[in-house]
C-alpha cells in the first residue's frame, strides 16, 4: 500500500515529503525545498490528496506597535513624564504644559489615569494645582507593566503573552493608537502516519522513470528502474477532436436502415418545376399548397422546360385520362406547371424515379429512399425551419398493400427507437389511402406524430409508370424524429453551428 503510493510520487513530491515534520510552516518548506512557490503548492496539494500529509491552517493574532506606541517606546509613557515633572513641585495646569511638553490631550488622559492610581492629588484654589503623592513617587521608581510591554520585540503573538503582559496589553489596547493587532494566517503541514511510513522508504528519485525517454528505451536502462505510478482515477482537461455534424451522423444511420432493407438511394435537384414537384403528384393547380406563402418560387430563371409527355399529366388533371378517375375537371395550365420552385418535398424524387422505371432504368419490384433537403417558405422560429430534411421512401410492387406500408414503417421506426406504432386516417392530395403514423414514446408514455404515409393515387402512378401499380410511400420530417435523441427543443439549434455545441455534442448512437 505505502509502496504503491511512494511509486506514484513525482520529483516535486519526493523533494518536499522528507522535509515535512510536525507543523512545518509553508515558509520553512519554501526555504528548505528550494522550489518555486507554485511548485511547492502543487507538491503539497498532491501529497495531501495522497493522504501522506495533512495541512493545517493557523490563525494568529499578532501585536504591532501603533503610532503612539512607537513614540512612547522611545520617550516613555506620558503619565511617567507627568509625574516626573511634578516630582519636586506642585504645578498649575499651565506650568505643567510648559514644563512637561506634553500635549493637552495627553495631559487630560494622564490626569484621569493617575487619579485612578492615586498617584496625584489635585487641589483647587484659583486654578487646579497638581501634587505628586507617595504612591506617585513609588511609581517613579520602577517601570510599569505597560512600559515593559512596549519594550518587547514586535510582532508579538497574542496567544504567547504572559499573564502580566496580558494585563498590560489589555490596558494599552484601550488607549489611542498604542497597539494594533494583525490577523495572520499560516499554513503548516504534518506527516500523517501513512506519510511517516512513506518517509521510511527510499524516496530518492534516481531509479524512478517519470517520462520514458528514447535513450532509456534504447539502452535498456529502464529495466532497472521503476515507473512512477499515476493516479489513473484523476480527472484530466477536456480535448475536442474533429467530428461529423450530428445531424449528418443521424442521416447516415437513417440511410443505413433503408439500405439494409434493400432500398436504392434517390438523389436529384433541389430546384424543380412545379410540374415535377406538384403536378405529377396530382396536386390540383388551385391547391392552397401552391400558394406563394407556402413555397419558395425562383425569380430568375423563372420557368422550366416541361418534358414532352406533360400532356399525359394535363389529361389526368382535367379528366382522369385512362386512370379510372374523373380528374379535377378544371383546365390545367402548362404555364403554372412550368414555374420553378424549391422542392417542397422529396416526393418529387419519387415521381422522377417512377418515371425512370417507365424509362427502363429500373425494374419492378423496386424500393427507393432518400434523406435530403426540402424547403418551405416559413420564417425561422423554434418550431420551424425553411430548409430541412425529409426521409422519403417508396415501394413499387404490384403486390404492395396497406399492411406492408405499416410493416416497412414499423421496421424503420423500431430502429429509431419506437417499438410500437399505429395508423390513423389522414389526407394528402396524392395518396389514397392516406395514413398518419404515430409512435409510442416509452419515456413520456404518449403517442407522438411520426409521419404521413399512404399509397400513391393511380392518377399519379399511372401516367408516370404507364401501368397502375400500388406505390407505398412516406415522407418523414427527419428533424423532429432526431431532436428528441439529441435533447434539442429549439429546432434552430440543429443548424446553429455553434462550435462549442458541435465539440461537445454526443454522437448519434442508435
Amino acid at each position: 500500500m505505502v509502496q504503491k503510493i511512494v511509486d506514484s510520487l513525482n520529483q516535486l513530491e519526493r523533494t518536499v515529503l522528507p522535509i515535512i515534520k510536525n507543523n512545518t510552516a509553508f515558509e520553512e518548506l519554501l526555504e528548505k525545498s528550494h522550489l518555486q512557490e507554485v511548485e511547492l503548492q502543487r507538491a503539497l496539494q498532491w501529497l495531501e490528496n495522497k493522504k501522506l500529509i495533512s495541512g493545517a491552517l493557523q490563525t494568529n493574532e499578532l501585536l504591532e506597535l501603533d503610532e503612539n506606541g512607537k513614540k512612547y517606546r522611545k520617550g516613555g509613557l506620558p503619565e511617567k513624564k507627568f509625574l516626573q515633572t511634578i516630582k519636586n513641585d506642585s504645578l498649575t495646569y499651565d506650568q505643567l504644559i510648559k514644563k512637561s511638553k506634553l500635549e493637552k490631550q495627553e495631559i487630560s488622559a494622564c490626569i484621569g489615569l493617575l487619579k485612578q492610581k492615586a498617584a496625584i492629588q489635585v487641589t483647587k484654589e484659583k486654578e487646579p494645582l497638581f501634587t505628586i503623592t507617595t504612591a506617585g513617587k513609588a511609581l517613579l521608581l520602577k517601570n510599569s507593566l505597560e512600559e515593559e510591554l512596549l519594550q518587547e520585540h514586535y510582532p508579538l503573538n497574542v496567544k504567547d503573552l504572559k499573564p502580566e503582559q496580558q494585563f498590560a496589553y489589555e490596558n494599552l489596547i484601550k488607549r489611542k493608537n498604542m497597539l494594533k493587532t494583525i490577523i495572520q494566517k499560516k499554513r503548516s503541514y504534518t506527516l500523517t502516519s501513512l506519510g511517516k511510513k512513506a518517509t521510511q522508504t527510499k524516496l530518492s528519485s534516481k531509479n524512478i522513470i517519470n517520462s520514458l525517454t528514447s535513450k532509456e528505451l534504447k539502452s535498456g536502462s529502464w529495466k532497472n528502474k521503476k515507473f512512477r505510478r499515476y493516479d489513473v482515477t484523476i480527472n484530466v482537461p477536456a480535448i475536442h477532436g474533429g467530428k461529423r455534424h450530428f445531424v449528418n451522423q443521424a442521416t447516415e444511420y437513417i440511410k443505413k436502415i433503408w439500405i439494409e432493407m434493400g432500398f436504392v438511394e434517390m438523389t436529384g435537384d433541389l430546384v424543380q418545376s412545379a410540374f415535377w414537384n406538384l403536378d405529377t403528384l396530382f396536386v390540383p393547380q388551385d391547391h392552397p399548397a401552391r400558394a406563394m406563402q407556402d413555397s419558395f418560387y425562383i425569380k430568375n430563371p423563372k420557368k422550366a422546360k416541361l418534358p414532352e409527355w406533360h400532356k399525359k399529366i394535363k389529361e389526368v388533371h382535367e379528366n382522369g385520362a385512362d386512370t379510372g378517375s374523373s380528374g379535377w375537371g378544371t383546365p390545367w395550365s402548362s404555364e403554372i406547371a412550368s414555374e420553378n420552385m424549391l422542392r417542397t418535398h422529396t416526393t418529387v424524387l419519387s415521381s422522377q424515379f417512377l418515371r425512370k422505371i417507365h424509362d427502363g432504368e429500373y425494374t419492378m419490384p423496386a424500393k427507393f429512399f432518400s434523406v435530403n433537403k426540402v424547403f418551405r417558405n416559413e420564417a425561422l422560429d423554434w418550431k420551424h425551419l425553411f430548409e430541412f430534411n425529409q426521409v422519403e421512401g417508396i415501394v413499387v410492387d404490384p403486390n404492395g398493400n396497406l399492411e406492408q406500408l405499416k410493416g416497412y414503417l414499423a421496421e424503420f421506426f423500431g430502429k429509431m427507437g419506437f417499438k410500437k406504432i399505429r395508423m390513423k386516417p389522414a389526407h394528402f392530395p396524392y395518396t389514397e389511402p392516406s395514413v398518419e403514423v404515430e409512435g409510442y414514446n416509452e419515456i413520456k408514455k404518449e403517442w407522438v406524430e411520426l409521419t404521413g404515409a399512404g399509397i400513391f393515387r393511380p392518377e399519379m402512378t399511372k401516367p408516370l409508370l404507364g401501368v397502375e401499380v400500388p406505390v407505398l410511400a412516406w415522407g418523414i420530417g427527419m428533424e423532429r424524429v432526431i431532436m428528441e435523441y439529441f435533447n434539442i427543443v429549439d429546432i434552430r439549434d440543429l443548424y446553429y453551428n455553434d462550435l462549442k455545441q458541435l465539440r461537445e455534442m454526443k454522437i448519434f448512437n442508435k
Binding site: 461529423r244 438511394e265 425562383i298 374523373s326 417558405n377 389511402p433 400500388p470
Partner: protein, 553 residues
C-alpha cells in the same frame, strides 16, 4: 387545415347517442378528424381539406353516427321543384360563368342556428372555395327577393347598392376600395372590365360575388324562414358540390330543399341542386389487394354503408355531398377507415431488391471522414442565404439564382459557393476557443440554360482554418492530404481571387480541370466578418472531383 367548433349538445342530439369522452375522441380520430379541444359545451375539430361536408354540426354528425353504426347507409334527401327561375346572361363570359342555386324553406333560425350557418359558409369559402376564388356563396332571406333572378356582369360604374353592414350606397369601385370585404377580395376581380351581379325581378341588387351581399337583401335574421342560396364561380361541378353540402346541411336542420332552373344563354337549362347519388365501380379484388384484406362482398357492402355510401350490384352510390370521390381508391380508403385503421397488421413481404447507396453521397461521406480525421469539425448550413453575404461581404461579383418570394432579405438567394457560409460560422463563433477548423460539403447553384430548370446544381466543399498561425501551408497540407488519399495529384497555378490575399492564392487543377481555390483570406473580408485571426481556406468542386474519379476508374 380548417378547424370548426361544434356545439356539443347539438352534435350529440344529431348523433342520437352520448358517448364517453374517451370513446368520442377515439372514434372521431379513427374516422379521420383530429380533436383539438373538447369541453362540456364544445368540440373543436381539425378537418382534412378533402371533407368539406364535415364543416358543420350536421355534416359531421351525419358521418359520425353512420361510422359508429347508428344510422348507416345512403341518406336520401327530398327535393321539391320550386318552379323558380334564374337567368344567366352572356355578359358573364370570362367573368364568372356559373352558378348553382336552391331555395330552402321551413327553417327556424335562432342565434345558434345562425352561428352554425355562418360557420359552414365561412369554412366552405376558405377551404373548398379557395378563399372565394373557386366558390363564393350567398345566402339571402327569400322574403326580400322578387323572382326571377338574373345573373349578369356590368361595368363597375353601373353597379350601385348598399353593401352589407355599410351605411350608404356605393358604386362597385368604391366598394372595392372602401368596404373591408371589398379590399380583401378585390384581387379576385382584378383586370376585369365588368363585375358579376345578382339582381332580382325588380332589378334590386342581391350581391356582387365574390365580394359582398347587399344590405337590403342579404342578411339572415331570426325571423327568416325561407332562403335563396347561390354559389358562383368558374367551374360548375365545384359549385354544385358546395351547394349540395349546404342544402343537405340545411335539410338536416329541418329545412325542405327546393330546386331552381337555370337558363344559360343559348337555351341550355340546368336544374339545381342535383342530389342524385353518383355511381362508382367497386372491384372487391382490387380493394382487397390494395388494403391487404380478404373482404367478402357482404362485408364490403356493410363497410361502405358505415361510411354513408349505398351499395348495389358492384357499384357504390356516392352521396351528392361528397366532393372527394374521384376514383375507386377513394372508396378503398373509406372501407379501410370503416374496417378500422387500428386493425391492420404489419407485414414485411419477402421481396428481394438490391440496395444501392448513391455513389456521390458515399464519396462525400468518405471525404468528410478524412477531414474529421484531421481534426476538422463538420458544419451544416443552409443553401438559402443573402446576396450580400454571397458577394459584397466577400468582395466578389456573382450572378446568383434569386428567390421570387423570400420572407427576408437575409435569405433571398441560393448560394453559389460555400466559403461565405463557413465564414459566417466563424463570425458566430468568435467567442469560442481557437483553433477553428471547420468544413462542409453542400449544395450550390448557378444558372445554366442547358438544364431543364435553367439552374445547375453541384456540391462544393469548403475547408477553413482560423488560428493565430493559419496560413497557406496549413491549408495546402489539407488539400494535398485529401488528394493523395484519393490517388490524385493537383497542379497548383498562381491565381487571383478578390476574397484572398494577392500572391497567397492558387487554383488547384486535377487532370487539367480547375477544381479548387486555395489561399489565405483577404484581411478586408476578415474585417467584413469581424474576425480577429487569420483564416486559410479552400473551396473545391466536389461534383467535378467525383466525376474525375469516376473517369479514372
Amino acid at each position: 387545415m380548417p378547424t370548426i367548433t361544434l356545439n356539443r349538445k347539438v352534435f350529440e342530439k344529431l348523433v342520437g347517442s352520448k358517448l364517453s369522452e374517451e370513446k368520442l375522441v377515439d372514434r372521431i380520430t379513427y374516422l379521420g378528424a383530429s380533436v383539438e379541444e373538447i369541453t362540456a359545451d364544445e368540440i373543436k375539430l381539425e378537418i382534412e381539406p378533402n371533407r368539406p361536408d364535415w364543416l358543420s354540426e350536421q355534416g359531421f354528425a351525419r358521418a359520425f353516427s353512420s361510422f359508429i353504426g347508428k344510422k348507416t347507409g345512403l341518406k336520401n334527401y327530398k327535393i321539391i321543384p320550386s318552379g323558380q327561375k334564374l337567368t344567366l346572361e352572356r355578359s358573364l363570359q370570362g367573368i364568372r360563368e356559373h352558378t348553382a342555386c336552391a331555395i330552402v324553406k321551413g327553417l327556424t333560425f335562432d342565434g345558434e342556428k345562425i352561428r352554425e350557418l355562418i360557420q359552414i359558409q365561412e369554412k366552405l369559402h376558405v377551404s373548398f372555395g379557395r378563399n372565394r376564388k373557386r366558390v363564393a356563396i350567398g345566402i339571402y332571406p327569400l322574403e326580400h327577393i322578387t323572382m326571377p333572378i338574373t345573373f349578369k356582369a356590368l361595368e363597375p360604374k353601373k353597379i350601385k347598392f348598399q353593401p352589407l353592414e355599410h351605411s350608404r350606397e356605393l358604386d362597385a369601385n368604391q366598394i372595392l376600395a372602401q368596404h373591408p370585404a371589398g379590399r380583401e377580395y378585390a384581387h379576385l376581380l382584378e383586370g376585369l372590365k365588368k363585375y358579376p351581379l345578382f339582381v332580382d325581378a325588380k332589378n334590386k341588387v342581391l350581391s356582387m360575388p365574390p365580394i359582398i351581399n347587399s344590405h337590403d337583401t342579404g342578411k339572415i335574421s331570426t325571423s327568416t324562414k325561407e332562403v335563396f342560396i347561390e354559389c358562383s364561380g368558374h367551374h360548375f361541378e365545384s359549385l354544385s358540390q358546395a351547394l349540395n353540402i349546404l342544402v343537405t346541411t340545411m335539410a338536416e336542420m329541418g329545412g325542405q330543399v327546393y330546386s331552381m332552373t337555370l337558363y344559360y344563354p343559348g337555351g341550355k337549362k340546368v336544374t339545381t341542386p342535383n342530389l342524385k347519388p353518383t355511381e362508382q365501380k367497386v372491384d372487391i379484388n382490387y380493394i382487397n389487394k390494395l388494403l391487404g384484406l380478404q373482404l367478402t362482398e357482404a362485408q364490403t357492402k356493410k363497410l361502405l354503408e358505415r361510411m354513408g355510401f349505398g351499395y348495389n350490384n358492384k357499384k357504390a352510390q356516392v352521396p351528392a355531398y361528397r366532393a372527394d370521390v374521384l376514383h375507386m381508391v377513394d372508396l378503398a380508403e373509406d372501407i379501410a377507415i370503416a374496417y378500422g385503421y387500428e386493425n391492420f397488421d404489419e407485414i414485411i413481404p419477402n421481396v428481394a431488391t438490391l440496395a444501392q447507396e448513391d455513389g456521390f453521397e458515399v464519396f462525400k461521406k468518405r471525404v468528410a471522414n478524412l477531414l474529421a480525421g484531421l481534426g476538422f469539425i463538420e458544419t451544416n448550413t443552409f443553401c438559402i442565404t443573402s446576396k450580400h453575404k454571397q458577394t459584397k461581404k466577400t468582395n466578389t461579383k456573382l450572378e446568383l439564382v434569386e428567390l421570387a418570394n423570400s420572407f427576408s432579405a437575409d435569405y433571398d438567394v441560393l448560394r453559389a459557393w460555400m466559403l461565405p457560409s463557413l465564414l459566417d460560422v466563424l463570425e458566430h463563433n468568435k467567442s469560442r476557443e481557437l483553433p477553428h477548423k471547420i468544413f462542409e460539403t453542400n449544395y450550390c447553384f448557378k444558372k445554366n440554360t442547358k438544364t431543364e430548370t435553367g439552374v445547375e446544381e453541384f456540391q462544393r466543399l469548403a475547408v477553413l482554418i482560423s488560428d493565430h498561425n493559419a496560413d497557406y501551408t496549413k491549408i495546402r497540407q489539407v488539400l494535398d492530404y485529401l488528394l493523395n488519399a484519393l490517388s490524385l495529384k493537383a497542379e497548383m497555378i498562381e491565381a487571383e481571387h478578390p476574397t484572398f490575399i494577392p500572391g497567397r492564392v492558387a487554383r488547384a487543377s486535377v487532370n487539367n480541370k480547375k477544381i479548387a481555390y486555395i489561399g489565405e483570406v483577404n484581411p478586408q473580408t476578415l474585417n467584413n466578418y469581424e474576425l480577429d485571426s487569420p483564416v486559410a481556406a479552400l473551396e473545391l468542386n466536389m461534383t467535378e472531383l467525383y466525376q474525375i474519379l469516376q473517369k479514372a476508374l
